[in-house]
Symmetry: D2
Subunit: 345 residues, 4 copies
């Protein structure tokens, strides 16, 4: 396998800073399951970022964060709205169903991969009808699976729509950092301020060794959080080692360097290929990923050169995902390879 590819940002390892942070808190004993001082410190850092009166915890992985968050606010007769290509809908096996009992309704998105308020409004039907799941939560991915970022205006409109219909606003922010830079806004502006109630705040993909955060902006919604976290097998005994990583990630702008770099690499790739004949860029490049339709016969030689995934077989739309450790050389080398193929075509 090539040293670094464009398959996924979870193929990358972790920042040396994360290992350092772990080392530094690997001293003496600390209470387990989150009752330690490092976790307390990390929570304070979150309060700086998102404001007071929040409820934060740290979990193992992204599926866990999504499912745990939703399980805190749903009962088993509820329904949940989400994009039809969202990770929650197509990449988390049946974890959402098994742990919450709810039905997940797939919403069509526009060509940018975004859910439109009108789509939500039409999907919320049969309230009070016991024969139909009672929709009470909507999950939005920011940035979307296509790497596009909902604007603050779009988020505000979604938040208003959900609020009017008394529906809980869940945000899957596995790569929220990249969207924050794309929109040039704070995390709070993009979440709490637009009405988000529960946030899955990514860790692994930005460069942690492991660990994701879950943030509730309304403590009433999270009153069963600790019970559900244990029950969903997402309560780390040595939580301090995740807390330490988040603390480091957030407190010295490491996240900014990481996300800014991977975003730039995606732009560099975009700029390198956008004018090449036979390639069609399919989605606006707003974060750390480029989607393109390429000739099918390029797949094998290109993937051999640098691994990546074919996203949609029908159209041969491929996904090129940059990570914190993608180098300019990696990109240039890949672009050159594409150019060679283009020349031969």
């Amino acid at each position: 396998m090539k040293k670094r590819g464009l398959a996924s940002d979870n193929y990358a390892g972790t920042f040396p800073e994360m290992i350092e942070a772990i080392e530094q808190c690997n001293k003496e004993h600390a209470r387990s399951y989150g009752y330690d001082s490092k976790t307390e410190e990390a929570i304070k850092e979150f309060e700086k970022i998102f404001g007071p009166e929040i409820n934060v915890s740290f979990v193992f992985n992204g599926t866990g964060a999504n499912v745990l968050g939703i399980s805190c606010v749903t009962q088993s007769h509820n329904g949940v709205l989400c994009a039809d290509q969202s990770h929650l809908y197509v990449d988390e096996s049946t974890a959402p169903e098994v742990f919450t009992g709810c039905k997940y309704f797939p919403l069509k998105t526009n060509s940018d991969g975004k859910i439109e308020p009108e789509t939500i409004r039409k999907a919320v039907t049969r309230r009070g009808d016991e024969h139909h799941p009672q929709i009470n939560t909507c999950s939005i991915t920011q940035p979307t699976e296509y790497g596009t970022a909902y604007t603050l205006e779009e988020l505000t409109e979604i938040g208003r729509t959900l609020n009017e219909m008394d529906i809980i606003f869940h945000m899957d922010g596995a790569r929220l950092y990249n969207a924050a830079l794309a929109l040039n806004c704070s995390f709070q502006q993009m979440t709490r301020d637009v009405g988000v109630d529960i946030l899955s705040f990514g860790g692994t993909k930005i460069g942690l060794l492991f660990g994701e955060a879950i943030v509730f902006f309304d403590k009433n919604l999270s009153k069963n959080l600790k019970y559900k976290q244990k029950q969903s097998m997402q309560l780390p005994s040595k939580m301090r080692f995740i807390s330490a990583q988040f603390l480091r990630l957030l407190s010295d702008d490491l996240w900014k360097r990481s996300a800014s770099h991977s975003n730039k690499m995606a732009q560099r790739l975009y700029n390198g290929v956008k004018d090449i004949p036979h390639i069609k860029i399919t989605r606006p490049v707003q974060s750390n990923v480029v989607f393109a339709i390429i000739p099918t016969e390029w797949n094998t030689p290109l993937i051999d050169h640098t691994p990546f995934y074919v996203w949609r077989e029908q159209t041969n739309e491929v996904r090129w995902m940059c990570s914190f450790d993608t180098t300019e050389e990696d990109i240039d080398d890949f672009v050159n390879q594409i150019k060679k193929l283009a020349d031969k075509s």
Copy 2:
């Protein structure tokens, strides 16, 4: 909080060797979700220890390992036997029920905390009766919650009993290392050779940063493992960082140094207090823990000195758990504190 206490082995941090192992595999990209070469290497190490034709995977935590293992071999109308004080029964919230649907039947144990074959035999009732859960799995903890180790003879007898009744043998080996030293036997002798079908093989409590292993000795039982692992939210995207830790733990006898040390510290503590009036040692000291009944009025001053848990309030039975980083000074200091209290009593 005191530097090191006797509350739990998961209050301890991790070995420097674990951090080193992570650092060493923090290079380049690797396929996520276990399809990497480090995981492959770690699996080979497990095959050296347990023999060929096994199925191994790495998960986040102990509850996850137990529940995932059981979920692979049960259907929701099944019943599972386990000790009434087992972690599975009293310390994993309702994760076992939610994820498997099964009913867990609590078995009385003898004073050593061990389940006797006769108890199992009597508990398996109403087979073929659709009104009653169909018991098909029995979970044994080695060493037990009381730190006692089932002998090979006892395990063999349990294995034979379960086999005769066509019941799957699950072993919760969160601290299996300590039992291996207590029995002076290999891991294989204590598991596969006595008929264990599925093993939760601990990592966190022996000193990993995070991570547990799950081992199936019969591949037929594990054919849905990868699906259940994802579904139970126990599939780490950067699995290589758990694999690397297990590899290091097992390949250079680090586990032996760790478990041997914590076992010795428990013996040192036992020897230090066994003849002190007012203290009654309640369970044989065979691994890294001492259980004792002490005067209730000692609780506050002693816990202030060195944190530990009261295990049974009714009798004021306390648990003193040693870990890989417990020092001789910690123990001697604690024993002296007890002696001071004894002198005053």
Copy 3:
């Protein structure tokens, strides 16, 4: 098979009056799923019996009533207390676990099969501890599985205990009618007045064709009832046919004739056999059932004569259950058969 046996009251058919009641409401169309006028009438009858401000619905079977009731007041991280020989614990497969996610803790009962308040108090542990299921509901069977009836004083004491600990009081009243006669009290005195929150009110065993009722004495607890009822597949489309049966059962004292008769038959049986050598009556005879230990060699000839169940194989304790259609001749004939066996022994 013999015309009538002593195996179970659900081996009996139904009252002619029930068929008549169905016939009478088999006219024209009625809204389905409980929105019909017959159901409305039946609910009013329940309000006469239990007082105002209740929430009543009708379901298919007893397991459904129990599980549905509990599902309305629990979340999946909760625990539920019940007698270790209760129908809920040993005769409803894993329906309670699958549908509620909760863990069910089996409580020891006294020799009358009753749970004592002290047992409840000791069982409620580790509140606020996320590692342990949070017990919030206790289910009491009236009359018990052994046919004994909790006195009003005993129920009041249980109600007070549960109330003090903020635990919901569920009553499984599959044969509540027989207890009402045994205690010579009203249904309300035995349920609402002693603090019961949710009642499974039997139908099938007293003589309905099919159907059970579920009664909530606190509307706050039942706000999801209709959703849970549909979700648990216990929402009959032609509910009016259950409602009509309950209406008839309750409004003309049919229930009293039925329960009084089956209670009398049990007394007649008790009186017939209590002085026979070799027979030991094991439980007070307070409703429509007699428990006795008989010589094992009598099982075959007696069951051939009149079917019944061996309740506990270890002691050869047998259960003789009377139903609304048991005749005096049935009992006398059975007693004579026993006397013949006794003479030969």
Copy 4:
């Protein structure tokens, strides 16, 4: 409320013959939970209809039949395909998710409400990929929610498609009788012969008091049926009263009279309104239902006259459902009412 409406066939009561059948088997005692001779007889009747080597049981309601059938052949990491307007998808709350854990994927149907083989083929993706539910079952409704009947050719093609992809063929036949007459074929031809593995065979809507049947054509798939039936709270204790009804329904062509009558009433209605201006018949009328788009302002006066449901608010498509007790006068009266409205428009 009007005597009889067009709202639903479950607003109708039951045949006098059903009550008679119940009366006739209301004699003496019978073993409960399906171990009685009447159930045995009914099963033999099913074997006459569907051929030998089947597994049949009787349950309370249609949701129960669907969910129980699917739960016998799925594990919780599986996915199930069904029409996006199917009862299973939109009218059974979250019972399917809660009881099976599976994800249900909604398939688009053609304008007749039928799933096309090509749609199935495209929906089955990511086999062997643990991140995605593993689709192993497809549920087809015959006749469809729009009252159209898949032809034998269409069913054969679906059966072949599913068989090729090793997917289990479930059929929801809540109104299978009406389709049998529409296609002029036997039940076996429409189910077992085209590859159906599991059939929900309706009872309530054709005119039973209560009760549905579930039929497995492959005994290997049903080996856990009795356990799942109890667990899903769908095991009637006095099953004989359902068996007796099915026996009567099937053995003397009562089903044929019923379905033939309701089909004819739908045709009569169709003929009465098809040429009326302002009305657009939207689906082929092949069973006992007519779908039509009518002017919105007609809703109130028409529903006041004869109750029915608006099926799709967007287009004001309404559903007129005939039942066994719909009379020619009912239809003519309703048609006249429509004509009056049409005249005024």
